[in-house]
Symmetry: C2
Subunit: 327 residues, 2 copies
Amino acid sequence: VNRTIDWDGDAIAIIDQTLLPGEERVLRIRDVEELAEAIRSLRVRGAPALGVAGALGVALAVRGARHVQAEADRAAALLAATRPTAINLSWGIEQARSHASKGAGAVLRAALELVEADVRTNRAMAELGAEWVAENIATPVRVLTHCNTGALACVEIGTALGVIAESHRRGLIEEVLATETRPLLQGSRLTAWELQRLGIPFRMVTDGAAPSVIARGEVSLVMVGADRIAANGDVANKIGTFPLALAAARARVPFVVVAPESTRDESTGSGAEIRIEERGEDEVLGYAGVRVAPDGAHAMNPAFDVTPADLITAIITEDRVIVPRLE
Amino acid sequence: VNRTIDWDGDAIAIIDQTLLPGEERVLRIRDVEELAEAIRSLRVRGAPALGVAGALGVALAVRGARHVQAEADRAAALLAATRPTAINLSWGIEQARSHASKGAGAVLRAALELVEADVRTNRAMAELGAEWVAENIATPVRVLTHCNTGALACVEIGTALGVIAESHRRGLIEEVLATETRPLLQGSRLTAWELQRLGIPFRMVTDGAAPSVIARGEVSLVMVGADRIAANGDVANKIGTFPLALAAARARVPFVVVAPESTRDESTGSGAEIRIEERGEDEVLGYAGVRVAPDGAHAMNPAFDVTPADLITAIITEDRVIVPRLE
């Protein structure tokens, strides 16, 4: 199995996620502009994978450069501007750039260490998360998840979906319900593809249906990832997360966020301060490339929403279980 | 402008809503089996329009029949089974069938009276609703609506969208935000088409985005229709309504239901007793013939959800404003 993103000795190799599930194609990216395009168009996406992409992008930019620091600074600025909400991107960029004064080799080594650290981090989250599930949720577990938080959102394994896969390996999971995740359908395209390969029973639901599926008692756990966690525990995540948290709170179903420590942003006090990326309206006005709305129609397209800390049962990182209400 | 559904002297004439917004084609339906197919495949949909369709369907079935009562009974059973959740369908069927003992002419007259009554009812709701908006919501009003509740859901005018159109005529509306309404995209296809023709400024949002748009303070009113209202005020409506009500309650934004008295079902105590139609999974796994999820994936596809009465600010009918919490 290919890693979602990796360094192949000469280029950044990514699985082009815009082509899944129809085609599994590996793109070899050789310059930073190409990487910026791949990030903007979501060929590579997912907060942890973006962190790795940022670091590898800086390493790519400084290879053979005469002025390593200047090239690192230029690449950092270009890449950081591609997507504003996920903090992991700028974090990964800085992890690599901070080594620029030591030369291109040091930058590459730092980026490669980040790739391996991502795998270790995800493995630790999967194990800690599966233990939390075993201790806190009655089996068999019926878990609802949103967007894609699996191996395709990281280097390997995943965040929330990594916990779900490990919980499945431990015999805890009866069924996964996965939201399709409009507008770009990461649930139907990517999560469904991963769940099939993992052999985990699942069904898709529309984003609008998920809250009432929770209300009807068909779900014993909601588990999602995060793109940025504010100091007070408010969580920015894929648009459509907030209504799941509202429904879970009303139904007294645990709502759990799984994200690495690098997703926490202590410099942002609360969700109100998080800049929400607004994407192009054509993503909303059509479906899978088919225009649906009449010509002349317009759309809002916020890519993320904020779930207030009071709706979150627990945040599981590689190190610990945080209960925002009790912090 | 064509009526959404009408009797043309020889057949039931409906606008085929599966072809909108690309094509505005009128279907002339001459037998009850054809009508049942049109209802199942949502060529005609919307609770009030289904009531009229049911009545006209019975009238169509008994034309020239030797045994009027037997034909009316057969048509009633066939049509009532097409869609279980909207009460208006069975209500309209019974309105026509109850005249079968008086002959085919009486059945047709009853059905035609229902067509005209639907227009009068909608006009009354639009006026009462616009008065409620003027009295209760600060202008300029930014209203979010779900699915399609306009002229295309009725004979003319509409329920929630009828109120919005009348409020716009009175200068109260700044902008409408309309949800796309997966899986069948009645918002992007039908509501957008109607709003354009009415000249009302609007933008589309995905179903998953709407709750956070409400939370961010971009909406001063949420207004939706209903498919069945239980005795306690719980409202079954298009899937995706419940999360809008949850978000509105948290943001203290009024959540208003607009529906004719015929949508009220005093024989159903609460939402828990309402049978929710489950539709085919292919609607969720792709759209318009474009498959998105991988082969072998499955889906849940409830067509409606239930919004509990405690989340509803007001229910506006043609006769009155009901506040479920105070009943």
